[in-house]
Subunit: 441 residues, 2 copies
């Protein structure tokens, strides 16, 4: 039976190409938006949500997260990228059991949807990726998920994380077959080679080929820190982007997290191949990586998404925080006009959808798109007065202002409560698992 849902009387920030904003209603039939406006006529028996004094907008899309890392929140402060990986994150990932991964992903997705993120591009760890899919299945978030691929046999990588090229590829394909397109196409597989320093050339070449064969997204890290860039350049004798490009790891189906430091030749490759960048401002600050010059990238028409990265390098998974920070940190270098607030909001909506190849489905509120919608309380002592909804959403709103979250037409969060899992239980288990993990390592 068709389900009808109507969101009434909200300030609708469509985040579409024309940046339309209006006060009105949205009619959702099953998983899709069928009508929007101030005079729509949904059936009388439709479920109604009052959005008076709220902003209604597309759910946030975070195109670089590591949900499996969430149990290391607060355990990995004050380290720069490579030390952070070697001293903490790899040993952490190496010790993760299937149930650790399950609870880490569940905790992350609880935080994410409660904070208004409806869609993620997630990089897992080497194993137990099925538990991340299962968590996304259960919580109801829209997700592209991939197991980490890392087949270089190096001393710095703990034994349990070492895999050979064949295993890495075979497991990726098996996960693809099991999960891709499942749940009304809410779940997708994305290939996730960790980064060039942990992957053989063979793995990267084969990954590029599989991506073409199966029409899959590739999600990897690139040019995060100067230290990493130097190591890669020393090993390969070309810039990192030239290397990736030569292996087939550039293009409209490739999302490169970070790109804090790019040489001109590398920017050109990204621009010409329409490769995507995912900006992670908190993580780039906390790991001392630097500040990606996003205003320059945007001027060159490079598409930029946004992501909180992982809890141990952030220490939140808060899309509103990332937007606010993305807007603020550019000003000292590029003036107070560095980025317009609607440009920043776009990173977390339509540009994210572009990375996921889903602009026909998500990223803006438009008729025939999926109903991935959040309702943000707008009447708080910290959000009034209001002048411009983009300014409000980017500079002022908090993820705790998110009142209701609808994904694929289903109400996932209602009045700030998650409906699809027991948050208290998740919190309790998460702390227990973290205690055990850090006893082990």
């Amino acid at each position: 039976m068709t389900k009808n849902l109507v969101i009434q009387n909200g300030l609708i920030v469509t985040a579409n190409e024309h940046l339309d904003v209006f006060t009105g209603d949205i009619w959702i039939k099953d998983d899709c938006i069928v009508s929007m406006g101030s005079t729509i006529s949904p059936p009388n028996d439709a479920t109604r949500i009052d959005a008076t004094n709220c902003i209604v907008m597309p759910g946030l899309i975070q195109t670089h997260v590591h949900t499996c890392q969430t149990l290391a929140r607060g355990y990995a402060d004050h380290l720069s990228l490579l030390d952070w990986l070697k001293q903490l994150i790899w040993p952490y990932e190496a010790t993760l059991t299937a149930s650790d991964v399950a609870i880490a992903a569940k905790l992350a997705m609880t935080e994410l949807v409660l904070g208004g993120t409806t869609s993620i591009l997630d990089m897992g760890t080497v194993r137990h990726t099925e538990h991340i899919f299962q968590a996304a299945h259960d919580i109801g978030i829209r997700a592209h998920i991939g197991k980490v691929m890392m087949d270089k046999q190096e001393d710095m990588i703990p034994k349990p994380l070492q895999e050979n090229t064949r295993q890495s590829i075979d497991e990726s394909i098996a996960l693809y077959k099991q999960w891709h397109g499942k749940e009304n196409e809410r779940l997708h597989y994305a290939l996730a080679p960790r980064f060039s320093l942990s992957c053989t050339k063979q793995l990267l070449v084969e990954t590029a080929q599989i991506a073409r064969d199966y029409n899959l997204l590739i999600h990897t890290h690139a040019n995060e820190t100067l230290e990493e860039i130097e190591l890669i350049q020393k090993e390969l004798n070309v810039t990192h982007l030239e290397y990736l490009h030569s292996l087939g790891l550039t293009g409209k189906h490739v999302a490169l997290a970070h790109c804090v430091h790019l040489q001109d030749i590398e920017r050109n490759i990204i621009k010409e191949t329409e490769t995507h960048i995912v900006h992670c401002p908190s993580s780039n600050l906390k790991l001392a990586s630097g500040i990606a010059p996003t205003p320059e990238y945007l001027k060159e028409h490079i598409n930029i998404g946004i992501g909180a990265d992982g809890a141990p390098c952030n220490n939140n998974l808060d899309g509103f925080w990332e937007m606010r920070l993305a807007a603020l940190i550019q000003c000292p270098r590029f003036t107070a006009k560095a980025l317009q607030t609607h440009q920043v909001l776009r990173m977390a909506t339509l540009s994210g959808a572009q990375i996921l190849g889903s602009t026909d489905q998500i990223g803006s509120l438009e008729v025939n798109k999926k109903a991935d919608i959040i309702i943000v309380d707008n009447q708080n002592s910290h959000t009034v007065p209001q002048n411009n909804p983009y300014s409000t959403l980017v500079y002022t709103s908090r993820s705790s202002d998110v009142r209701d979250v609808i994904i694929d037409g289903k109400i996932i969060v209602k009045e700030k409560h998650l409906l699809t899992a027991d948050t208290e239980e998740t919190i309790h288990h998460a702390q227990e698992h973290a205690n055990e993990i850090f006893k082990r390592i």
Copy 2:
């Protein structure tokens, strides 16, 4: 009759000199902490607040805010400091009526206390300062407040904001006499010359003298942007701090907001005179001013407080945001070890108290200090797992996690609801007043 209040079973982050943390209870008698520990014996009829799964800590102290500016939130984006002042903030302040100032201050203080800030150093505008005091009186926040002093007759300053030296001083003294030490010493006067570009030398010299005569704090802006510094240096032919020092505007009773850019000679003056710096990271980013090198200042034993500045340059008044940002933004320049989280928490607690000359009263949880205490919910999907309470508070907690706020022994916020004013009414009036103000200017 004595009132007894007990906060039970919280994780008590004392923020004292020894950084003591323990699980236990706090007994408050009237306005003061009389006992703390795991085995205290308050009377049976004491009011009890359960703080299980919460962090109990001193209320945040923000030592640079402009509560009167709150109605311009969201109306002043994408401008650098001097344009922001000339094009928006001065015209805004020039048009403010007494009731505008009253509602702006009430809105700000509502946001502040709901977000865990229990004490502020506030700079008003030229007039209507009594309404800021009245708002602090009504809301119950602890406050040092001063009218802005700006007696330079310059074209760029709107007529209604121009005052002569005598008026400026006389009104300051009158306000001091009316409010200083009132409400069980919860309200204080602080002299507030705006900044050197808007004050005559005579005003600054007289202000310095009054500060000595009346034992008052001086609260001003200094070295916020390179543009302002250049203008001052051109006019005076010495560095700004040399100028302030020569006029008597340095010392333990002087709080300089910003100090983003300081020459060595200026740092030395600040260090040797024990003048305080107030760090305002959001504001410094948003106005494109720069990033104050706080790790260097701390190494030189300069005392640093923290503040959100005003809503139009932030756009929040959120102490947790400022702490998080203060921690993150130093890493690209000073490594991931730039600042320890307890150092950042201190900026917002004991160092703030030091600026206010109140370390014997506030800034940490200690027996015989005032009961300015906040209870922060610690069991959320975005705050677990927890490893280190300073990391949790600085990187992870949100102002919306603040559950209860006690100021001067009184419960001001209970279960996230303000008890001392009608928040809905404040929000409603604030939007109405803002609409009117921006119709006028």
